[in-house]
């Protein structure tokens, strides 16, 4: 950084050293821009082993052909390219669970997976639960009957996390199921009623 730039923008009452530190910390002063040439990946492929962009995904039992960038997350592919907007991107950093989908029956954060990494795996999203005739999945029905969730933004993630957990433990008690869905944040914090609904849904699933 040039001293003259520092002096010209240094606030009153700040020592020069303090200010340089703050500018370094915040990246406040521009030098030159860094330009990317659009979204289409990093230029020519140097190796035959660079991943193919075109791939086939098995989503909700359907095979979907899709062009996927190397840096694309599964959440982006599903929401932006396949129109599956049920999963939500609440944080984009694996901290809220709203994007949870099942990958080979295992709950995962779709925001934190590269789509290229799930080649050949089967993906289930919230849209794949109800039957084509509209009949709800028993887990959905259980939650519906208990008026679970408030704003509902976290609901798809919670339901998918629950399904994945029930595949491992179909007979959970409340505490076990709470641990099972503890990777899902609800900011309405209606956890008590959500859990009641999910327990009801688990019960319906066992009866089916």
């Amino acid at each position: 950084m040039h001293a003259s730039i520092v002096e010209s923008i240094r606030p009153a009452g700040m020592t020069r050293r303090q200010f340089i530190k703050s500018v370094i910390a915040a990246g406040a002063v521009s030098s030159s821009g860094l330009l990317f040439s659009g979204p289409a990946g990093a230029g020519p492929k140097a190796s035959p082993r660079v991943v193919e962009r075109l791939l086939t995904l098995d989503v909700n039992g359907q095979r979907r052909r899709v062009d996927v960038l190397p840096q694309e997350t599964l959440a982006q592919t599903l929401r932006h390219k396949l129109g599956l907007t049920g999963l939500k991107v609440g944080c984009d950093r694996g901290e809220c669970g709203a994007c949870t989908v099942l990958v080979d029956a295992v709950p995962q954060y779709a925001c934190s997976l590269l789509t290229q990494s799930v080649r050949g795996k089967s993906i289930l999203t919230i849209e794949g639960l109800a039957r084509p005739d509209g009949k709800l999945h028993p887990l959905q029905q259980g939650v519906l009957d208990e008026q679970g969730f408030q704003c509902g933004y976290c609901a798809p993630g919670f339901l998918m996390a629950t399904l994945g957990f029930l595949a491992v433990n179909p007979h959970p008690n409340r505490q076990e199921l709470a641990h099972g869905v503890s990777g899902n944040l609800c900011r309405c914090q209606d956890y008590d009623k959500i859990l009641t609904g999910l327990m009801r849904g688990a019960e319906y699933m066992r009866k089916e």
Partner: protein, 831 residues
Amino acid sequence: MADNDALFTPKLTGHNYVTPDLRAKLTGSARFADDFRAEGMLVCKLLTSPLPHARVTHLDLRTALAVPGVRAILTADELPPPADSVSDSGAVIKASPWAERALTMEPLYQGEPILAVAAVDEATASAAIEAVDIAYEALPFVIDPLDSLRPGGANARTDGNVWLPPARPGERPRIGELKWSAAEFEAAGPDRLPLGKATNEWSYGEVEAGLARAALVLDETFITPNVSHQALETRSALAWWENGKLHLAVGSQSTVQTVPAIAKWLNMDANDIVVISEYTGGGFGGKITASVAAIIPALLAKKARAPVMLRASREDEQAIGRARPSTIGRMRAGFAKDGRLLGLDMLVVMDNGPYEEQFDALMAGRLASLLYQPQAMRWRGAAVLTNTPTRGAQTAPGGLQVSALLGPVLAKAARRLGLDPLAICRINAPEGRAPVGPPKPDGSLNAATSVFVKQALDRGASAFGWQARRFRPAPAKGTVRRGIGVATGCFVAGTVGFDGLLVITPQGRLRIHTGVGNLGTESFSDAQRVAADALDMPWEACEIVWGNTGRHLAWSCVSGGSQTIHAMSRAALAAGLDARAKLKEIAAQTLGGKPEDYAIGSQRVFRRDNGTQGLSFAEAARRAIELGGIYDGHQCPAGINKATQTAVAALAGQGLVAVARDTFPRDGQTYSHVASFAEVEVDIETGMYRITALHAEADAGTVVHPRAFAGQLAGRSMLGIGHATRQKWFYDKEYGIPVSRRFYQSRPPTILCCPEHFTWGSVGIPDPQTPIGARGIGEPPTGAACAAVLCALNDALGDDTFLRAPVMVDAVLAAIEPAIRPAADNLSANV
């Protein structure tokens, strides 16, 4: 009423049912704002300030605009000037020169938007932001209110550091400067709020006399945290323009009221705005209407001539998504031997953020006067500006803080006086038409419509097993300490004067057009159960139209401040009664006799003396269309809001149109209360603790929808628990930059943070000042639960151990080993 029929028979009201929005939420088909797509849609990203206070000195957009795929860049100089507003009396109120704008060249906090880029995709928009050539002049900043009040402390804005009351009546509050003396800081010492000058104050009774004759006087300082709203849906909006009209799909707590708010931000005609907001991913007060994040895509869409979507990143949301202001309170409280609060002298300094004046400190005073009924009271407060994100109302603004500040003071007084903490809550609890400060100009106090919190304390204590828990032996494990706490919370819980709008269709169905927003409380639907009951309609024959102002919605309250169930059940009843009157008039005109000869039931209007003679609702609706005029909406009664009139005009001829404004009487201010009881077990070796039980007992009048009511009690209790246990900001004060930006750093509660046993109850005594009897429940659980947990922690670990909430691992361990308590920043909320 022309007849003696009950206003409504609660066949639906008070019962559980499946709300009409739930199925879509569970199948993923509910469309939240960022689920909308439009042909040619651009995406928008923000360039935000890296510094807490700065002026942009250099801005060159050429390189950014040259990035392929960039369509437009919006800067602050392109914003329309803020609109003046017009008061109810017609007086023009000039736009505030201090108001927040959507973009700025003088950012007042780190993270404030400076410009916005619209591009064909997210990657391009991000790359374009990085290509912006920008430089700043750093300006003085301050993060903590007390640092600003110190002699020589920095001001957050160039023209001052506090909000001052209007210089002359009828004018706006203004920004000015307030400093306290070094002597005042010196006198207070490191752990007490200095008793400096306030900017606002009120009092009633003889406070010093009350303190003088008290058996016990406590002088307590406590700090409540800054807590971001952190709705799971980050601020999102898709904007597009069609024939000069702005269409905005936006996450907003309110629907019809978002239109005038947007109109004001954009300085345009409200008739040219359509708001779509069927689903909103959480608000908690942060999205009461719409602000920065809706304005930016609206203007960018106009500039780029294409639909523009803004979906804030979580980190941007942390900056622009609003937060509850921290407060520092100093309370001198005098108690009689029996625990009665004789005098309360309260000073509250609030961290206001840099923009609009917040009212948490003010509300804390008003609610203290209600919640604890001090015989004499003085409140003083100051809203101090800081270079931190814009604050906004958050669930029980001021209500959370007052309980957190004073609940533990009552419990401490109980321990000092050898009283049961429950007894001290009870003896100070308001009752019936309890008085509320501040005093009116004539010196008298306002009155609540009704308060039954003593009953809530009694019922709650019994359900929780308070007395049994008080005398339980200590836990067997030597390092575990148990504590219990009880506290009350309250908040305003209802407004009046909004419109209801119904259509009985020629098919005999009831269509309810509501402008209430849907943020998940379900009050947009619950309130309508009353309209159905007024007409004795089965719920299956009802349909709610909501969430799109293009679909002709009635003027409704904002969905904030827990007013909806009170306000809109009244409006729904008013419209239901209008429908009933019109049905009878139509029947009388069609079949003879007088309207009062007719009764309503089973989706028919029929003669009281001969039930076979009558009209089905379907027939009556067809007849209404034939009659026209007031019956099918071709004429609209006076006194209806303009927005509703427009909706009625659009619906005219579709059936029997019933429309009415809520003019039911109400005498007093409407408040709801909650009494909360908590038990904690603290491991003093690890500093970790569990909330083993929590009971919340409500005094919110008639319960309209039990499951939704329970959800509010549980969810809003958790919000309070978050403030007590782990949610806060951390700031580096030297640089003015927050270091906690992620969920794992700001720690909103997870499902495993819940009380191990949560129970709830409701006194259920109808409020006599509203015909339905219902008051709001969204807010009062928050303060009650927060304070109950804080009281329980004090009970477990001793008085005088915590200076601030939340109480995290380090604070618990410092309570056991005071030597490790950090010496610095004792009165800062953000460390």
